[in-house]
């Protein structure tokens, strides 16, 4: 089959690879009809994530049609149309039973590697390094889906792919980010990063009762989307100081809830941004936590910091500010299965049409070019959907 594969920094190719097969009795094989490139795929593309191996199949935002099921699969059958969430969860362990699906104890075959890194292993993910499972991803014609009764969600409502595809990651991720922010009535919510997760965090913040949403970015079309589609006030961090502007907007209190939808590869400004670039260049730190630092500084005392953005390793943040300002930090990979049903309902009810973020549609064969376009934010690219 054809698949997008990782060959090193800024080197993604279309390769012919073997078709996946059923291995375990709860596996299913899905023929992919649509698959997206995620902002977190760019961390792989930019060579930031260790334990990638040349030839790994990328992609964790797929959907398609079930073409084969293992002997113990009960809820899916051939011909079902499914969206596949990016986290792989067994459904049986204590974490899955308590709906903390991204912390699944059983789905990472390379758990030992993750334990060495982090002390414990989170769930395995599709197409996201060997440390996090080593599973082939969904930017391909076919995908093997383990624990098929637990992950994929059946979509039989005839909605087009582009309206349901983003249930695979960015919509639930934005929603959980807003939920993690503990938004109370009339709260001011600041969202750093107006990519797809940021846009869905903005939408979700309104759903959860925010009184005001402020969106921060430097890419004009993303700020425009946050204004026009997200009803947000915006700050272009290249043209104004974010802290000063947020204090002016909130009478010096700072936003009640801050969401970092940027993560490890933040583009900082000034000395701080330069220092991050130098330190990561010298391998003194693994992340560029510019946004995290700024959010900590801006957040009101006793407020909440929600971090859907991906971080990788050692990072330099002013933890003294977190402690002395009594901030609550909530983060984690998205507990996908917790959100699939209710969010599908919001799409089916017409409450939200997630396809608003989609700017580029192309064939899988065009994947390598679009990785570059998306990474460079060229051509006003916000979200890419590929069709195998």
């Amino acid at each position: 089959m054809r698949a997008l594969t990782w060959h090193g920094e800024k080197d993604v190719r279309v390769d012919e690879v073997p078709k996946p097969e059923i291995v375990n009795p709860t596996d299913a094989i899905v023929e992919i009809t649509a698959t997206a490139i995620c902002g977190s795929d760019l961390h792989l593309y930019n060579g930031k994530m260790p334990s990638m191996r040349e030839g790994d199949v990328l992609g964790h935002e797929p959907m398609g049609e079930v073409v084969e099921v293992g002997s113990e699969v009960e809820t899916l059958e051939r011909g079902d149309r499914v969206v596949v969430p990016f986290t792989i969860s067994c459904g049986s362990c204590w974490f899955c039973e308590t709906e903390q699906y991204s912390l699944c104890d059983n789905s990472n075959p390379n758990a030992e590697m993750a334990r060495k890194m982090m002390g414990h292993s989170p769930a395995g993910l599709f197409g996201y390094s060997h440390m996090l499972g080593g599973y082939a991803g969904g930017q391909a014609e076919y995908l093997r889906v383990p624990y098929a009764d637990v992950g994929p969600i059946n979509v039989d409502s005839g909605l087009p792919d582009e309206q349901v595809l983003f249930l695979s990651d960015v919509f639930p991720t934005g929603y959980m980010a807003a939920e993690n922010a503990d938004i109370e009535e009339e709260d001011t919510v600041a969202v750093w990063g107006c990519g797809p997760v940021g846009q869905f965090a903005i939408q979700s913040a309104w759903m959860l009762g925010a009184g005001r949403v402020v969106a921060i970015d430097r890419v004009q079309e993303r700020l425009e989307m946050a204004r026009s589609h997200g009803d947000s006030e915006t700050i272009d961090y290249e043209n104004e100081d974010v802290y000063d502007r947020l204090m002016a907007m909130t009478g010096g209190r700072g936003p009640d809830r801050c969401i970092d939808a940027v993560g490890t590869e933040a583009h900082g400004t000034g000395l701080d941004g330069m220092s991050d670039r130098v330190k990561t260049g010298l391998k003194l730190q693994d992340d560029r936590p510019y946004v995290l630092r700024e959010a900590i500084k801006c957040c009101r005392k006793g407020g909440t910091l929600s971090v859907p953005g991906v971080y990788l390793g050692r990072t330099n943040i002013p933890f003294g500010s977190v402690m002395n300002k009594a901030l609550t930090v909530k983060t984690g990979q998205t507990h996908m299965q917790r959100y699939l049903d209710p969010l599908l309902e919001t799409i089916e009810d017409g409450e939200i049409d997630p396809s608003f973020i989609l700017t580029h549609r192309a064939d899988l064969e065009d994947g390598p070019d679009l990785y570059e376009t998306f990474n460079e934010k060229d051509d006003e690219c916000i979200k890419v959907m590929l069709t195998p």
Binding site: P18, V23, P109, E112, D287, G313
Partner: protein, 242 residues
């Protein structure tokens, strides 16, 4: 001072978790032993390493204790004897788990690619390490402690044993979390040329072996299957570690 690249570490990791049938003969395991089992951890902790090597200063920051342990292990003498204990929590009752672990066929699945375990009698098993020189690394074990739901211990009865004790203890976990299972394994490579061959050529990192057994135990008990990337497609072919 230690210096290694993350890619090398990841490759070596893959070598360690490789299905023996796919093993590359050119993997430099003696280098692995020199670095010590902690190196992969240290290298992986040193995120974003890319293709550069890691200097001593960074190790001191992120992987110092692992490097220290690797040095410590090296200076303990050359016998390679070591006892490793690790614990895991499994969401099943202790009785059920100890009954499962008594069975040679189940043990064989738990032990994974490292060795074959076959039943001789109910409380006597035979262990044969894969890939050992001339299959000489084979021994019989006897169940010397048998307290269902509490503790099981096997010890070698004859043969050339790599493992001189295998104990599993079970105790209830708090709340609804099931059972805390501790696996303690004594590794004692035989002396002489065979022992040297084992340490140099056999791909055994005690902690990884013990951790892997517990992971498999938990997954089998809780889900009935072991997560795998067997047959995984990539541009390298089929099978994750080609």
């Amino acid at each position: 001072m230690f210096s290694y690249s993350l890619d090398t570490a990841a490759d070596e990791w893959s070598d360690r978790t490789r299905d023996p049938a796919l093993s590359r003969s050119d993997s430099d395991l003696s280098r692995w032993k020199r670095i010590g089992a902690g190196a992969v951890g240290g290298a992986l902790v040193a995120f974003g390493l890319g293709r550069r090597s890691l200097g001593g200063a960074a190790i001191a920051l992120v992987g110092g204790w692992m490097a220290y342990r690797a040095v410590g292990a090296r200076s303990e003498g050359s016998t390679g004897a070591e006892t490793v204990a690790e614990s895991i929590t499994i969401g099943k009752p202790a009785d059920e788990l100890s009954e499962f672990a008594r069975d040679a066929a189940n043990l064989n699945r738990l032990v994974g690619p490292f060795a074959d375990v076959t039943a001789l009698e109910a409380d006597r098993h035979r262990w044969t390490v894969h890939e050992s020189p001339d299959q000489r690394l084979s021994w019989e074990t006897r169940l010397v402690e048998d307290r269902p739901g509490d503790r099981l211990r096997w010890e070698p009865a004859d043969g050339t044993a790599l493992i001189d004790g295998w104990s599993m203890s079970f105790r209830p976990a708090p709340g609804d979390r099931g059972t805390e299972v501790t696996l303690e394994v004594g590794f004692a490579p035989p002396g002489g040329s065979l022992g040297t061959a084992v340490i140099e050529k056999l791909d055994v990192v005690p902690e990884s072996l013990v951790g892997g057994v517990l992971d498999r135990f938990k997954s089998l008990a809780e889900t009935g299957e072991i997560p795998t990337t067997e047959g995984n497609p990539s541009a390298r072919g089929r099978g994750d570690l080609l």
